[in-house]
Amino acid sequence: MIKSEADSERTKLKREISELRAALNRKEQCLRELEAAVSVGAGAEDHAEENALVSPGGTTHTKLTNDDIARYSRQLILPDFGVQGQLRLKNSSVLIVGLGGLGCPAAQYLAAAGCGHLGLIDYDEVERSNFHRQILHSEARLGISKAESARIALLELNPHCEIRCHSRLLYSQNAMHIIRGYDVVLDCSDNVPTRYLLNDACVMLRKPLVSGSALKMDGQLTVYSYGNGPCYRCIYPVPPPPEAVTNCGDGGVLGAVTGTIGAMQALEAIKVIVGMGDVLAGRLLIFDGSSSLFRNIRIRSKRPNCHVCSAQPLITELIDYEMFCGMHATDKDNPLQLLAADERLSVKEYQEKLQPHPHLLIDVRPTAEFEICQLPEAVNVPLVEILDDSYLKRFAKQLEDKELPIVLLCRRGNDSQIAVQHVRNRFPMHSIRDLIGGLHAWTNSVDPNFPIY
């Protein structure tokens, strides 16, 4: 067999194996869900998923077992923690919202430390781009629910931890019901609407909210709704406009940065539960990973006219947070629709009709992304350089020729539309179009070997 044939055979087999593995994971998950439903149905009339933990208070532990003593010995001997701290942890229940870059390390340290009951919420499924930071998930669990995947990993770490999965999107109609059953909530989410939803629900239910966030090389951490401290709305009464919000998929993030903040969320939750140390309430911790600097900003006390946590709140039940923020409660990108159909090109059309002829192909992604992969003949002009017109000088000569077609492209076909609008305003007589679906479409419809990120 010649080398190229062997290569393509290898690629094909690998793809088939990963598809089979994903199918196996889906079946195993169906089985687990069925078994969970049957066991709950047999025990009580409760609905399996919706209900929070069956009252951890039902069986309050007053003694540590020999296994506990051996397992937790290194923290039991801490004077401020001790047996009482361990028992409090064992009797506690913590809800972790989001099993991503923050939620994985947070859950890992809480389970390992002996937190008795963990609730895990995530609507999403494990994919390859998660692994660099979402360290509970593994290759073998590609495609299964993140909450389930985390549960499997956590039980390997500590089989004594009782874990309840909520594999669904948290929203106004189910939030109060789910949160009610827990002592402390960790906001490990990745979007603005969920942050306001969790804040309001935790204020209404008087649950401490350990709020962590991270992007690129930056992290933030504080505890809301604790003691006399403020809530998220006291600090940020107005959500940022959608165009000012960057998600990890677009901005990037380093796993060690989310790991730092996630581990600290576990630490704050333990301090809240055990009653030790100074809880990070009324202070915002800012982590700058690029210079390894931690800063504490004294944040305000409760805002006297806060819409949710003041004495006369305007918001007394949960609202529609996607509407309030003008954004979806996920970190997925939505395709923009800025251009008419005749202002755009499918990747196939481009490949067949334009690629063989003279044209100017401009890739508007940031330079770091262009370095990952690029089409032949593409020149890189990041969107900012289109929008500030600094591209004009560089292409002065080509732009004189009205007959030279210009094609703009990006990763998914959103930024390229913004770029077309801008360039077309200046050159209304030129043929300027973008590639629908960007490089992702190129991989899906033209060249399956072109990398996707």
Binding site: G100, S189, G219, Y236, V238, E243, A244, T246, V253, R300
Partner: protein, 90 residues
């Protein structure tokens, strides 16, 4: 920055989105010794291109949140101002 009367030179630190918009992690600016916090914020916003996040950020003076933007604040040479927008990723 527009100034009348005595001025001092202070450090401004930019975090998260504001660092991208300002295109720098830190800067030094001349500001009046006495200024209403909202006027100070307006000046920083227009000078560093922060209009899009003006309504959702923390302005901190020497590591303390400025609670009331209508308060007059007193600045000294070398003071530190920080612009801190929320981060929502995870």
């Amino acid at each position: 920055m527009s100034t009348e009367g005595p001025v001092v030179n202070v450090h401004v630190l930019f975090f998260a989105k504001s660092r991208e918009l300002a295109n720098t992690p830190r800067s030094k600016v001349d500001v009046p010794v006495e200024i209403i916090a909202s006027d100070l914020l307006d000046q920083l916003v227009s000078r560093f291109g922060l209009t899009s996040i003006q309504n959702s950020l923390i302005l901190a003076h020497n590591e303390s949140y400025i609670e009331n933007l209508s308060d007059k604040i007193l600045l000294k040479e070398g003071d530190e101002l920080a612009i801190i927008p929320p981060l929502s990723g995870g």
